[in-house]
């Protein structure tokens, strides 16, 4: 996993911005922020709501932010 991901999982999520999530760069991050997903914990909320289903979550992320398959999967 990327350094970014290790940093992220290494400490409590707290109030980190959505761009702290591995695979979420500025472009995707800004699209998510527009829709209210400004913090990492809000994206986690959506993941939980989707019953932690990776495929559902990836689909949602692509719809919500135009992320491509690889980024979404990360």
């Amino acid at each position: 996993t990327s350094q970014k991901h290790r940093e992220f999982v290494g400490e409590p999520m707290g109030d980190k911005p959505v761009t702290a999530l591995s695979g979420i760069g500025e472009t995707i991050g800004s699209k998510l922020k527009e829709q209210g997903f400004d913090k990492a914990y809000v994206v986690l909320g959506q993941f939980l709501l989707l019953k932690k289903d990776p495929e559902m979550f990836t689909d949602w992320l692509r719809d919500a932010s135009g992320a491509n398959a690889r980024q979404a999967a990360t």
Partner: protein, 43 residues
């Protein structure tokens, strides 16, 4: 005003901002609550 349920999530979000209602993303599981909050604010 067109009923809220016809509006897009983005439009609902903009209305919530307009009425000063603190909110998160307007998604399937939160939309009904936010529409209710808006109706209360508009009443």
């Amino acid at each position: 005003m067109a009923s809220l349920s016809n509006k897009s999530a983005e439009e609902i979000g903009e209305l919530l901002d307009e009425y000063g209602i603190k909110h998160g993303p307007v998604v399937e599981s939160t939309r009904r609550l936010y529409e209710k909050k808006l109706k209360e604010a508009m009443a």
